[in-house]
């Protein structure tokens, strides 16, 4: 394997995080976890991550969206791929009326619904990282 990829999970449900982290650990990723939006943002600003796994519904509402919006405004972080993991795919259309399938928070993002099948999770993660890297090489 090449350099170990670094992932960050921001999700406030420790049990869910355990389940998803162990799948990613098992696939050889280096996984950090933040259990609230604030420490999540701190982690993102202090360290480079190849991918962010972001929960949308945290705390008192859709606090994950605030993170996504902040990322979109940050010239460096907006290049980082984001895998949005949500328990509310069904309601997304009503939270974001007028947006197709799901709203694009950042240039490179995808959305999956909780719980995520390991195969699908790993596929999405690796595809998102590859796509982001390809874009980067292209623009370099």
């Amino acid at each position: 394997m090449t350099v170990q990829k670094k992932l960050l999970i921001i999700d406030d449900d420790p049990d869910f995080v355990e389940g998803i982290k162990s799948i990613l650990d098992g696939a050889g990723y280096d996984v950090d976890v933040a259990y609230n939006p604030k420490s999540g943002l701190q982690a993102l600003q202090s360290k480079f991550y190849d991918l962010l796994l972001l929960d949308i519904m945290m705390g008192r509402g859709a606090e994950g969206i605030m993170i996504a919006r902040k990322l979109r405004k940050d010239s460096k972080l907006r290049e980082m791929p984001v895998l949005i993991i949500t328990g509310i795919r069904e309601q997304m259309a009503f939270l974001f009326p007028g947006e197709p399938v799901h709203p694009r928070f950042v240039a490179v993002d995808e959305l999956v619904e909780k719980p995520v099948e390991p195969k699908m999770l790993l596929e999405k993660v690796s595809t998102l990282i590859e796509t982001a890297e390809a874009r980067k090489t292209k623009s370099d």
Partner: protein, 371 residues
């Protein structure tokens, strides 16, 4: 007990003696009594004080009592009003009741009569307010149902499932065949639960009529093909053939593709579920009288006549479903709602042990006939 705010009563009457005596009768009780000597002043008080109960004399100079009554109810329909009729004619009392008065009090009246009617009026007010609060709570609950259910129920299930997914990988090779089978079974059961919650969410919280906002042209064969792709795995497992017929060049319809596919998947899936292994399900699309008609017919267990009318109503669950098939009849309800949101209709005919035919008709938009 929490301290109740004093109940507010307004008495509108042009006779000062009435106002005085009424105020006196109610004195010493847990009421705040206010008085007005004409309709205009009374209305102003009502607006300011938001009273619980208002007495209105019908015969007053200035704005007539009936008009005062009407205006109060326009302002706030939860205020309980009682009219005082100087001339005890049934007519004026009836007229007042038609205009929203809760009761009437003929003059002259005794202090006891007045106390009693005040008590009844305030009880009425309590009920009105309670009913209103309950209705608001119900609305609020409905609106927030999606958020509550998804978070409170789906989150823990999602966390459990995610760990089962993870452990399946981690325990690979370490479990006996039987343990593996049980682990798989657990995942299936939780998956069923999550799907069930999603269906309930769909019915309760999602306003299906909103799909109208996303209408776009749709080719019927596309629709049917995509729906079949979804059901195919189940059909293959039960050795059921899915056969499609398209009668000629079908006109384009207007709709929301995703939800129409969902509607078809529910119905075709249902047909597969209740079919006998080795049989077939036919999906036939035709154009008839400005409508596109899709018939889904199976040669399955059928639906008894007395149950037929319930199939498409809310929350029907087949009586004869086998125990190993988990069925939540909610799917058909959702299908019906989706089709109705497309101005279409869905019907079902069936014979026990012969089979069932679901017929969907969706209107072809005018002028979009030939492609």
């Amino acid at each position: 007990m929490a301290m109740n705010p004093k109940e507010k009563i307004i008495i509108i009457d042009d006779e000062e003696v009435v106002l005085d005596s009424c105020s006196q009768i109610l004195q010493g009780r847990n009421y705040d009594v206010f008085t007005a000597q004409d309709g205009a002043t009374g209305l102003k008080l009502v607006e300011e004080l938001k009273p619980d109960l208002v007495f209105i004399d019908l015969k007053m100079p200035g704005i007539p009592g009936l008009e005062v009554l009407e205006k109060i109810h326009v302002q706030d329909d939860t205020v309980v009003t009682i009219v005082i009729t100087g001339y005890a004619t049934i007519d004026s009392a009836v007229e007042a009741m038609k205009n929203g008065a809760y009761d009437f009090l003929p003059k002259p009246f005794t202090p006891d009569e007045f106390r009693l009617i005040t008590k009844r009026g305030l009880e009425r007010r309590k009920l009105v307010v309670e009913a209103l609060t309950l209705r608001r709570e119900k609305e609020l609950l409905r609106e927030n149902f999606a958020a509550i259910v998804s978070h409170e129920l789906k989150s823990p299930l999602g966390a459990i499932q995610q760990n089962l997914f993870a452990m399946t990988g981690e325990l690979a090779g370490k479990l006996s065949e039987n343990q593996n089978a049980r682990l798989e079974r657990m995942k299936i059961r939780i998956d069923d639960l999550i799907k069930l919650i999603n269906s309930w969410l769909r019915v309760y919280s999602v306003d299906i009529s909103k799909v109208k906002e996303n209408f776009a042209p749709i080719q019927v064969p596309d629709l049917v093909t995509k729906a079949i792709e979804n059901v195919e795995p189940h059909a293959v497992r039960k050795d059921i053939k899915l056969i499609t017929h398209f009668a000629g060049q079908l006109p384009t319809i207007e709709g929301d593709e995703m939800s129409l596919i969902e509607a078809l998947v529910n119905i075709i899936g249902n047909a597969v579920k209740y079919s006998f292994p080795g049989s077939q399900v036919t999906i036939e699309s035709t154009e008839k009288d400005g409508m596109v008609e899709i018939d889904i017919s199976d040669k399955g267990v059928g639906i008894p006549e007395d149950e037929l009318q319930n199939v498409l109503s809310d929350f029907y669950r087949g009586r004869s479903n086998k125990s190993d098939e988990n069925s939540h009849g909610i799917g058909l309800t959702i299908s019906r709602k989706i089709i109705e949101a497309h101005n279409g209709v869905i019907q079902v005919t069936s014979k026990a042990n012969v089979g069932t035919i679901f017929t969907i008709r969706i209107p072809v938009p005018q002028g979009a006939g030939e492609k």
